[in-house]
């Protein structure tokens, strides 16, 4: 850190107090959207004015899994798909922490799908940021549970044969209290969503549609990151409060964004506390 402090004021990164400058440059490819999501998140942390000492961030494995390593908070880089489970432990054991899970679609929805729906059901008080790039990028472009039908991936050399998940619908139906989706292009709205979600009590899910210039776009001949951004710009539509069941994303189809769910449910910790107080069932 010293190195950074000695540099001239104008050279100091505006996010320096949220990012681990000693880890920059990061590993993400040019044209990737994860960095944008992180910046938006960092900005949201400031806006939401919460005590940064009381925020823990947990990531799984994958490109997005590396986020924890670049954010200057108590940060944990855990095993594949188990970020939410790990975070659950943190939240349950010390309820005064604000816990954020920042990971990718493959990590959270494929191998971690079970923890995703259960955390939502339990309504563990945490923010889950799911960066969805439609593919496993870290391992080199395998099919993900979000890969649109007929899109190509290395383990689907003849096109994806499985319908993708509609993440907001899944989160909604398993009980998340706040569900939103934005693309990496809509930074300002994304930031605001983060702020709202951070101040929400219960499990919030924010899906960030992000370009993967290196694998998804290349394998499917969709151009570079900029082209993807253009595509988002031309083919995304904001529909707040849209019924989550209409939010499927087809291959190069229109992307519907917005805040879809915002409701109240008692969180796990609350339930546990009053259950302890007034339970009769001998367990």
């Amino acid at each position: 850190m010293e190195a950074v402090k000695t540099t001239a004021a104008h050279e100091i990164h505006p996010m320096e107090n949220v990012l681990r400058m000693d880890r920059i440059p990061h590993i993400w490819c040019p044209g990737c959207g994860i960095g944008i999501a992180v910046t938006a998140f960092a900005a949201a942390l400031e806006k939401a004015n919460i005590d940064l000492n009381k925020v823990a961030i947990v990531s799984g494995i994958g490109c997005t899994g590396r986020v924890a390593g670049y954010v200057k908070l108590d940060s944990f880089h855990t095993t594949h798909g188990r970020a939410i489970a790990f975070a659950t432990g943190i939240k349950v054991a010390s309820p005064d922490m604000k816990v954020v899970v920042f990971s990718g679609d493959g990590d959270l929805i494929a191998i971690g799908g079970n923890h995703f729906i259960h955390a939502a059901r339990r309504n563990i008080d945490m923010l889950v940021v799911c960066v969805n790039n439609f593919i496993y990028a870290m391992t080199g472009g395998q099919v993900a549970p979000t890969t649109p039908l007929a899109a190509y991936a290395t383990t689907c050399p003849f096109g994806c044969v499985e319908p993708p998940f509609n993440i907001p619908y899944l989160a909604d139906s398993s009980g998340a209290v706040y569900v939103a989706r934005w693309t990496a292009l809509h930074v300002r709205r994304l930031t605001n969503s983060f702020v709202e979600a951070l101040n929400k009590k219960g499990l919030s899910v924010v899906e960030v549609i992000s370009p993967c210039a290196q694998y998804y776009s290349r394998i499917n001949r969709l151009g570079d990151g900029l082209d993807m951004m253009r595509f988002y710009h031309d083919n995304s539509e904001i529909r707040h409060g849209e019924d989550t069941k209409n939010l499927d994303i087809g291959f190069q189809q229109k992307i519907i964004m917005g805040k879809f769910v915002d409701r109240e449910r008692p969180s796990y910790t609350d339930r546990y506390q009053d259950w302890l107080k007034q339970r009769k069932v001998g367990m």
Partner: protein, 255 residues
């Protein structure tokens, strides 16, 4: 004989499918006699893996009909459930839900030890039909263990569905864990009396809150291409005549 098994037997018969064509992976231990009586191939698998196991059975031999009976479905097996639904894998999932309700229709349910309850008692349960529907199941229904006729109908219908069908069965107590057989009659009755039949109800509204009655019935029933069809469609589109559709010859297996 255990009412559930009766329903299974009736259902299998009515479906008109030879029992020998039916495979039944399950993390619920069925007594040998029961299986003999049903005449199906039965696999007692690791907790929660019935659907994943069934996926293997079905894909390796598409001629099979697979009935996955799941006790730990929504706990350990939750992931396999949602992904099975997404793929629309041709598996009939019978979810034996022994969740112990604290309050039903305002009354307190008879106490049953929560030992094997998939949920600690202070947690809210999943709305299984809703979750199933939201991740792509093409048929969702819920019955209590006393709706034998309806359950049998559902099973018969579910077996003919080409895709993931899920039937939630409310059974009392943890006892299934030690082999289906022992029952808590008063609780079965209790469920039965406090349930209300509402076919075609929106899955979103059939959650078991503890305040209203248990809503049972056939909720959704739609058509979606099953995994193998999508697979064959996609590959023949790309590979043209180089590709022999999978499952027709099924790699020399009993197609």
């Amino acid at each position: 004989m255990n009412p559930l098994v009766t329903a299974f037997k009736k259902g299998f018969e009515r479906s008109g499918i030879k029992p020998s064509r039916i495979s039944m992976p399950s993390d619920v231990l069925f007594e040998p006699e029961v299986v003999k009586d049903l005449g199906v191939d039965y696999f007692h698998v690791t907790r929660g893996r019935a659907i994943a196991f069934g996926t293997g059975l079905k894909l390796a031999n598409p001629a099979l009909r697979v009935v996955a009976v799941a006790g730990d479905l929504m706990t350990i097996g939750g992931n396999h459930f949602v992904h099975g639904g997404r793929r629309n894998m041709e598996v009939l999932v019978i979810c034996i839900n022994n969740y112990v309700y604290r309050k039903i229709a305002g009354k307190t349910a008879p106490l049953v030890t929560v030992k094997f309850s998939p949920y600690s008692t202070f947690e809210e349960p999943f709305n299984i039909p809703h979750l199933g529907n939201s991740c792509g199941a093409i048929y969702t229904a819920r019955w209590t263990a006393l709706h034998i006729e309806e359950l049998a109908e559902s099973i018969a219908h579910g077996l003919t569905k080409r895709g993931l069908a899920v039937i939630e069965v409310l059974v009392p107590g943890p006892d299934y864990y030690n082999g289906i057989g022992t029952w808590r009659d008063e609780l079965v009755k209790f469920y039965h009396e406090n349930s209300e039949k509402r076919d075609g109800e929106m899955p979103r509204n059939v959650g078991i809150t503890g305040e209203s009655k248990i809503i049972v019935g056939e909720f959704t029933d739609k058509e979606m291409p099953p995994f193998i069809d999508t697979y064959n469609k996609q590959l023949s589109a790309v590979l043209k005549d180089k590709f022999t559709p999978y499952g027709q010859t099924n790699g020399g297996q009993n197609g």
